[in-house]
């Protein structure tokens, strides 16, 4: 299928955000009619690479990138996504970029409508042209025809099944005459199996008509099924660039996650635990983007239990659902007592605490002092740090709050000008420590920690993980930690559950083979993973 000189060449592309290297000397080519499978863990650099390809403002705002991008042999410099579109790149996003109240046709030709000049054009410009609906419809039908699927041109997007939305998006890119390269970011994530199958067929068909496709997906079987070539990104490096022949899921999985085996750094010493303290059965959570469908697991007393998996698969939904932040159902039992769901106060009252992944959105009162941030939950849940005035009014005990805050500033080494400083003025790492302090301050029996190292620098990461490790050892607090970073889970957890598509794919010890983790994340079951 692939022939001729490369249509798109990515040459020695590197990119760092303020010294934090996310792409390092990445090169690969894409030929006409070729389907390239691009795989990698979260944070491997896929998104950044796409941002660079599309000339997103965020790249230039953060100092541009090194290396070059060539289309058809000439180097290109995109200043905005619109330049990239003009140059023949098309992008189908993970979230739909469609106008809900518009029809299929209107969305396919959005802002590229067929028009006829009207008498007002001379005075008020081109936007007074009249739309030619019949021509728009014709174009839409042609684009749909190319996909080889059934789409009604006059159906409203808001009334479509999800799969049709995805096809509408692709049709929109196809309708652009110049589109020669199509990039799809996790296009099957929201589709049912049969819809996904149709989509794969469509992509093959498009490729056979000469369109080059970059297919980003975490479902490795899909990548294996349609890609001509596979590029694996890991920690910003293109670690593998190979023709899709004689390779299996296990190979890709280990390229994706494997820092060379055995080198993985520290591991928790193997520990044994007596009793189960926490039990979850058939949990579902309606957390947008992190939907949990049916999850059951048990946690033992004093354990650090890890929850891993790729972004969007539901691992973050688990702690958020149990703590009552999103609508949830199922059975959750802590020390023999049922935990009421959808009631944060009750969950906290039973001795559980939660450090949210959304530090700035949920974790902190950015405009308030550190004292407020750390003491607030303890005040509300346990009525601590209050004092009586005139024997009548209970008032915040500012002095006790300050003492508490100082204690944790010292303990966790929070860098701040004082306990009255506002939370928004701290760095990411220190903000995270404040979040931890807030959870510690209510002396939890069971603590949920969600993405504790997201968006903080390397040094701070280690500090945060060490803090959790010590807290677990010193106080025997059971910790459930959800994280996208497998290595981090493996470094401090006693057991790790991998979540895929809202269900637990399997639970592994941290010492398990790296490729087993990779396979579980890629849609395999535990048995398949172990036997693959």
């Amino acid at each position: 299928m692939a022939n001729g000189s490369p249509l798109l060449s990515i040459e020695h592309v590197s990119k760092d955000f303020y010294g934090n290297v996310v792409l390092h000397d990445v090169s690969f080519d894409l030929r006409e009619g070729e389907i390239l499978g691009l795989v990698g863990e979260n944070g491997a650099g896929k998104t950044t690479l796409m941002h660079i390809l599309f000339g997103m403002p965020v790249i230039t705002e953060t100092g541009g990138f090194q290396g070059s991008i060539k289309i058809g042999g000439t180097e290109v410099h995109f200043l905005s996504p619109f330049d990239a579109l003009d140059a023949g790149l098309g992008m189908v996003h993970q979230e739909f970029s469609l106008i809900p109240g518009f029809t299929t046709t209107e969305n396919i030709v959005l802002n590229r409508e067929s028009m006829r000049a009207s008498f007002l054009n001379d005075v008020f410009g081109d936007r007074m042209s009249v739309l030619q609906r019949d021509k728009m419809r014709e174009r839409a039908q042609r684009a749909i025809g190319k996909l080889g699927v059934e789409l009604k041109p006059d159906m409203l997007v808001s009334e479509m099944p999800v799969g049709h939305k995805q096809f509408t998006e692709i049709a929109r890119e196809i309708d652009r005459k110049q589109t020669r390269i199509l990039i799809l970011d996790e296009p099957t994530a929201v589709l049912t199996e049969s819809e996904a199958e149709v989509l794969l067929q469509t992509l093959k068909r498009l490729a056979s008509e000469g369109i080059a496709i970059i297919f980003i997906s975490h479902r490795l079987q899909e990548v294996l099924a349609i890609a001509d070539r596979i590029v694996v990104l890991r920690d910003g490096h293109a670690v593998k660039d190979t023709v899709n022949e004689n390779i299996g899921m296990r190979d890709i999985a280990s390229w994706m996650v494997g820092r060379s085996l055995g080198e993985g750094g520290q591991r928790s010493e193997a520990r044994s635990f007596a009793e189960n303290t926490f039990k979850v059965q058939h949990l579902w959570v309606d957390m947008p983007g992190e939907t949990v469908r049916d999850v059951s697991f048990e946690v033992r007393k004093g354990e650090i239990f890890g929850i891993g998996g790729l972004a969007g698969q539901g691992k973050l939904g688990i702690p958020n659902g149990i703590m009552g932040l999103f609508p949830a159902g199922g059975e959750v039992v802590l020390d023999g007592k049922a935990v009421p769901l959808n009631a944060p106060a009750k969950a906290l009252g039973m001795g559980m605490a939660f450090v949210s992944e959304d530090r700035r959105g949920v974790g902190l009162l950015l405009d308030e002092s550190l004292e407020w941030n750390i003491a607030f939950t303890a005040i509300q849940v346990h009525g601590q740090y209050l004092k009586k005035v005139f024997g009548l009014f209970s008032q915040r005990d500012e002095k006790a709050m300050e003492e508490l805050c100082q204690e944790y500033v010292k303990l966790l080494d929070i860098k701040c000008t004082g306990t009255k400083q506002k939370a928004k003025e701290l760095s990411g790492g220190n903000q995270q420590k404040v979040c931890l302090a807030k959870a510690f301050a209510i002396k939890p029996r069971l603590m949920f920690v969600s993405e504790p190292t997201r968006g903080i620098d390397v040094g701070a990461k280690k500090l945060v993980l060490d803090t959790l490790h010590h807290y677990n050892r010193d106080f025997g607090t059971t910790i459930v930690m959800a994280s996208s970073e497998l290595e981090e889970l493996r470094s401090i957890c006693d057991r790790i559950a991998i979540v895929d598509e809202g269900k637990i794919a399997g639970i592994l010890p941290p010492t398990a083979d790296i490729s087993e983790f990779g396979l579980l994340m890629s849609g395999a079951t535990l048995e398949e993973a172990v036997n693959a």
């Binding site: 703590m323 932040l325 944060p344 106060a345 009750k346 969950a347 906290l348 009252g349 939660f354 949210s356 959304d358 700035r360 959105g361 949920v362 974790g363 902190l364 009162l365 950015l366 405009d367 308030e368 407020w372 607030f376 939950t377 005040i379 509300q380 849940v381 009525g383 209050l386 005035v389 009014f393 209970s394 008032q395 915040r396 928004k424």
Partner: protein, 347 residues
């Protein structure tokens, strides 16, 4: 230098302009033969008259419900209390306190319903509050006509029923606070001790409340509702409490206003009283999600100062009454400024 710059940025140009404008008015006053002592006395009096209605803005701003354009509900509850107190022939301090006590159940019930509604329409509170306020005022207009009041000082003489538009409280509790321990200096200056003490009492109670467990939770709800919820705070309950307190303070506020002003004004009278209260707290430095006692104090003095001084000084200066126009531009300009300003919560 940088400090000054950030200070100005935080405080906002409009407030600084208003401040200097007011200072200029005071400086000019003697030159156009406006008595300073009378002016100051006037400003103090009007501050006391209006401060509690401005204070009523605080709880709802703090809990994230925004500017209480529905304050009219509280004002109407206050009118109900005041008219009932007259109907029951309560005189003096008893009448005044009676009005507040009688207004309390109305304001609590109205506030509760109002809060229920606002909790259902999060994000659209302000526009809806405004129209709920208006339509309730209109509903009450009908009620003032048909409710069976029969105190002759209150009802229309010729019909024998239906309340008058303006009812004098002269024989009941006129200046009951203003005259309490009032200090008279010279011919033109009166320090309304009782009035200011009463305001201070409410401000102190509010201050205490904001430092309590509930008040702390309420502030957190306004600052970041997701944080509050994750910490086990019932967001809707906190908002409800804030709306009820605000409505009650609105009721107390208008009763205090009436005892000083001398009249109970019914029918559509409450509707033009809402915007000044909103504008005052914004002039005092509040934003649509943060307000403090200092904002109330500064804002009420600045705004009422402006309202007192512009007619007298500008009139004498230009021989024309521009105070109304200035009031419209300043108060609405201030609200507009607050609405268009990027909400400061950094996400």
């Amino acid at each position: 230098m940088r400090n000054l710059k950030t200070f100005i940025q935080d405080f906002g140009w409009p407030r600084i302009i208003i401040f200097f404008f007011l200072v200029a008015l005071f400086v000019m006053a003697p030159f156009v033969r406006v008595r300073l002592d009378a002016s100051v006395s006037d400003v103090l009096n009007r501050f006391g008259q209006n401060a509690i209605m401005v204070l009523a803005m605080v709880p709802m701003i703090q809990s994230g419900c925004g500017l209480n354009f529905g304050l009219a509900l509280g004002l109407v509850a206050g009118l109900l209390g005041a008219t009932l107190s007259l109907q029951l022939e309560l005189h003096g301090m008893l009448g005044f306190l009676g009005a507040i006590v009688l207004a309390a159940p109305f304001s609590i019930i109205l506030g509760w319903f109002y809060a229920k509604l606002l909790n259902k329409v999060k994000g659209e509170e302000m526009t809806i509050a405004m129209y709920v306020g208006f339509s309730f005022i209109m509903f009450m207009c009908i009620m003032w006509l048909v409710l069976p009041y029969n105190n002759p000082t209150m009802v229309w003489g010729y019909a024998g029923k239906g309340l008058r538009t303006t009812i004098s409280v002269e024989n009941y509790w006129l200046h009951i606070l203003n005259n309490f321990l009032a200090i008279k200096i010279g011919q033109f200056f009166v320090f309304p001790t009782g009035l200011l003490l009463f305001v201070a009492l409410f401000a102190f109670l509010m201050w205490l409340f904001l430092r309590s467990k509930t008040g702390t939770a309420m502030t957190a709800v306004g600052s970041n509702p997701d944080f509050a919820r994750a910490s086990g705070v019932d967001v809707d309950k906190m908002r409800t409490i804030s709306v009820i307190i605000s409505t009650f303070l609105g009721a107390v506020g208008i009763i205090v206003y009436e005892q000083s002003f001398g009249f109970i004004q019914l029918y559509t009278a409450p509707s033009p009283m809402v915007f000044p209260a909103v504008a005052a707290i914004l002039i005092g430095g509040a934003s649509i999600n943060k307000a403090s006692m200092a904002n109330v104090l500064v804002g009420t003095i600045l705004f009422q100062g402006l309202l007192t001084m512009t007619p007298s000084v500008i009139n004498s200066l230009l021989q024309t009454d521009m105070s109304e126009v200035i009031r419209i531009i300043v108060s609405n300009g201030m609200i507009l400024y607050a609405l268009t300003r990027k909400v400061k919560v950094s996400k």
